[in-house]
């Protein structure tokens, strides 16, 4: 790049195009500000990219599918090439999906890419969210972006639900019926809501067309907006990084967007696309030809939703069938309680960052990530939530657990009912213990070095294991985290000897803070003095 100021010479074509564009779009300053943007390197920072790329793949394949799909519930007789369904009555939606699968060129592959990518998309969002959670990347200034991401997860779940319901097959139709049953269980307004949503009695002739516009227009539109906002905020806040030598809260150590990250991200897109394409080429998903068209009077065993809705299935499956009959009205608690718990399960993890910031009272910005072990209570909470989620997934697949592990489905259901309350607590306690143990080990390593496995015999006959001291970089990394002091309520009386008024909230905060950072809830990290004392040469320990 020569900066020739000689105005006589005609600039090369590329420069002229760039100049033209800059005069109208201002790309120079944009590019200057962003091209050298630095991103830190860590495999876990690429989880969000998996979400982004699978989302792009879903949109591209989805557009292709809309070219052939007929969102209509008009009844037609199947006359396609799949013999076991010939002569059967089905909706046009199912018929056109059969057409996509068996007659449209590449249709089945695109359908499978679309569906597999959707499963992977939501899974990647969950894992990405857990990465952000366990490393504390949700702390100020990123709380809003955490919420954007959470909303993307929830919307992704519902976009998936409305999407797999579109073919109007027996499996998804059972799922829609399930949802309608949950809506009906809402006291007072349930029946009205159901009639409104389905345009009359279930299933009616409208829901596929309605789900279609929600699935291809409304939800993806909102998701697209949120996604852009999510990415803008990532740019604006800059990426977080793990602690290490040369890394501080004020810098970002990594590689520039151009050319390194563009190349890496571009390549990674194709790798993600490749994995999804291979999975879609070798494994069937949602074989609607084997499942058959939906008819409200038919049902199959093993009727589960796609995995991301599995926990709601679990909630319903393990809930005792309670109901209250009063003055000719039925309150179906067996369905209504799971319906209420369903959003609470998700909200539990969504609101956590705000609870933590309230407990710590920390208003500073954080750009250095925590190692999960250094935030034992948070890590324990996250693992407890995941355990909770997994227990519900077990409940949702209780029949397959029963057949594949030769268990009684009733025992599994009872196990899930009890584990729903007990397992998260156990997971919390165990995880916290493990984190504290790891903190102790880090401390040990800093002070005494790494166990080298070399046994040395001293002249007087004693055997010792030689410990290798860590280098400066490792020492820094292991001790870079800061440790909070528990929040103290202060003296009970003020300077005049009058009892201070302490709100309940403050007392709770103090209690929680003690649980987070009090004695025995974090291991004080080694100080420089301790290190000197030990390494000053009084031999081994």
């Amino acid at each position: 790049m020569s900066t020739n100021t000689d105005s006589k010479r005609k600039a090369p074509a590329g420069e002229r195009v760039a100049d033209w564009a800059d005069g109208r779009l201002g790309i120079y300053s944009l590019a200057k500000a962003n091209m050298r943007k630095i991103f830190p390197d860590h495999w876990s920072f690429m989880l969000g990219e998996i979400c982004l790329y699978s989302f792009i793949i879903i949109i591209l394949t989805g557009v292709y599918l809309t070219l052939f799909f007929h969102p209509s519930m008009n009844e037609v007789e199947y006359a396609g090439s799949y013999v076991p369904l010939q002569g059967q009555l089905m909706s046009e939606a199912f018929n056109s999906t059969m057409h996509i699968s068996f007659e449209v060129r590449g249709g089945l592959l695109i359908r499978q890419i679309h569906h597999w990518a959707a499963l992977i998309f939501v899974a990647a969002m969950l894992v990405h969210m857990m990465r952000v959670f366990f490393t504390g990347a949700f702390r100020k200034p990123r709380e809003v972006n955490w919420l954007f991401g959470f909303l993307l997860l929830v919307l992704g779940m519902f976009t998936g639900f409305t999407g797999y319901s579109l073919p109007d097959d027996l499996l998804s139709g059972t799922g829609v019926r399930f949802m309608q049953g949950a809506i009906l269980s809402v006291p007072i307004v349930g029946t009205y809501l159901s009639m409104f949503l389905f345009g009359g009695e279930f299933p009616g002739g409208d829901f596929v067309a309605r789900f279609y516009s929600v699935h291809i227009l409304l939800l993806p539109g909102i998701m697209m907006g949120l996604l852009v906002a999510h990415l803008i905020l990532v740019f604006y806040h800059k990426h977080t990084q793990f602690a290490g030598p040369g890394r501080s809260n004020k810098n970002v150590v990594g590689m520039p967007l151009l050319p390194v990250y563009m190349a890496k991200a571009g390549g990674f897109f194709f790798l993600v696309f490749g994995v999804i394409a291979v999975v879609s080429a070798i494994a069937t998903i949602n074989p609607i030809w084997a499942i058959g068209p939906y008819r409200p009077d038919q049902v199959s065993t093993g009727a589960q939703p796609d995995w991301y809705m599995g926990f709601s299935e679990g909630l319903i499956r393990v809930m005792p069938g309670w109901e209250i009959n009063l003055w000719g009205h039925t309150l179906v608690l067996g369905v209504f309680i799971p319906l209420v718990i369903f959003p609470l399960v998700l909200a539990a993890i969504a609101v956590y960052p705000f609870i933590e910031s309230w407990v710590t009272g920390d208003k500073r910005e954080h750009h250095i990530l925590d190692r999960p072990r250094n935030a034992p209570t948070r890590t324990a909470f996250g693992v407890a939530w995941l355990t909770w989620y997994f227990v519900l997934l077990v409940g949702g697949g209780n029949d397959l657990w029963a057949t594949h592990f030769h268990l009684s489905i009733n025992s599994i259901t009872w196990f899930v009912r009890i584990a729903f309350f007990v397992a998260p607590v156990l997971a919390f306690v165990i995880t916290k213990r493990i984190c504290l143990g790891l903190q102790r080990r880090d401390k040990e390593k800093v002070l005494h070095g790494r166990e080298s496995g070399i046994i040395k015999r001293l002249p007087h006959g004693e055997f010792i294991e030689v410990h290798e001291p860590l280098n400066q970089e490792q020492l820094h990394t292991l001790t870079a985290h800061e440790q909070y002091k528990p929040f103290e309520l202060g003296p009970e009386v003020d300077e005049h000897g009058v009892r201070r008024k302490l709100s309940r909230g403050e007392k709770l905060r103090a209690k929680l803070s003690k649980g987070y950072y009090g004695e025995d809830n974090q291991i004080p990290k080694p100080t420089a003095d301790e290190y000197k004392e030990i390494t000053s040469g009084h031999g081994h320990h």
């Binding site: 495999w43 199947y78 002569g87 089945l108 080429a281 070798i282 494994a283 199959s300 065993t301 796609d306």
Partner: protein, 269 residues
């Protein structure tokens, strides 16, 4: 070798050794573990109720009683018919190995002649459905589409969309229909073994049974094509979700680790 010994104190060395040891013991076990040997023992030749009675006294009487009247361990066989015997013994379910929630299918130790003798004896205890003939259960020319509709209305609740089987209460289950012969499917519908309801000709005529058999053969037979690739057990979203997590996201995370490890690093100081 020098390279190897230099790394034996690496923090990950123990993990690698552990993995190798696990793989080695697992592999050795798989190679040397004794294979299950069948302990079939065949005797018997004649063709009469008497012969069947002798077989019955050896294999069945301890649970069903010496005259087929039933005991606390097994139901009465009066009136179950030859079809029930042909199904239960022919699929190896009877004689049962042990009491339990449900008697599973296992290797059949009787030959067809012995089964016929047993069936003849049990049929002589009281009238019941006879063993169907090939003309009755042969699915040739049946309406597969109609069979699918009937299957989804009557069978899929327990046996899944394509007959992969499913769970019932308290450890009972609806078995997979894969590889079950048309005759046995017909007999099962006719007699309702174990937890299955029976579908006699009055509720499900012979033709409909044929349609169902033809449908099962079309969607779960040896030559059923799987246009989408691996069928993942045909179990629906649970196995699909597991596959997406492990072979979709799992592989992608492995790829991400690989990409992140191969970076244009600034020179290590």
């Amino acid at each position: 070798m020098k390279k190897l010994s230099a790394r034996r104190r690496h923090p990950l060395a123990a993990v690698v050794v552990l993995l190798l040891a696990l793989a080695a013991t697992g592999g050795l076990y798989a190679a040397f573990a004794p294979a299950d040997k069948a302990q079939a023992d065949e005797t018997a030749q004649s063709l009469a109720i008497d012969e069947g009675k002798k077989l019955y006294a050896v294999g069945c009487a301890s649970c069903h009683g010496t005259g087929g009247q039933g005991t606390s361990d097994g139901p009465s066989l009066v009136g179950v018919g030859a079809a029930a015997v042909d199904f239960q013994v022919g699929t190896g379910r009877m004689p049962a190995q042990q009491p339990g929630a449900q008697v599973p299918k296992k290797k059949n130790i009787y030959n067809q002649a012995e089964i016929d003798q047993l069936a003849a004896y049990v049929a002589s205890l009281g009238a019941g459905p006879a063993v169907p003939t090939d003309k009755q259960y042969n699915p040739e020319g049946a309406d597969i589409g109609k069979g699918g509709e009937l299957f989804r209305s009557n069978c899929a609740q327990c046996h899944n969309f394509t007959g992969e089987g499913g769970a019932l209460t308290h450890g009972k289950f609806a078995p997979s229909l894969e590889g079950v012969s048309p005759k046995h499917i017909y007999e099962a519908m006719q007699t309702g073994p174990q937890n299955m309801p029976s579908f006699p000709d009055t509720t499900m005529p012979e033709k409909e049974k044929k349609d169902i058999i033809a449908y099962i053969d079309a969607v779960n037979g040896d030559e059923t094509p799987s246009p989408g690739g691996l069928s993942l057990g045909g179990l629906g979203p649970v196995s699909e979700g597991l596959f997406a997590w492990i072979f979709g996201l799992g592989v992608m995370i492995a790829v991400a680790v690989w990409v992140a490890a191969r970076t244009a690093k600034a020179k290590k100081s």
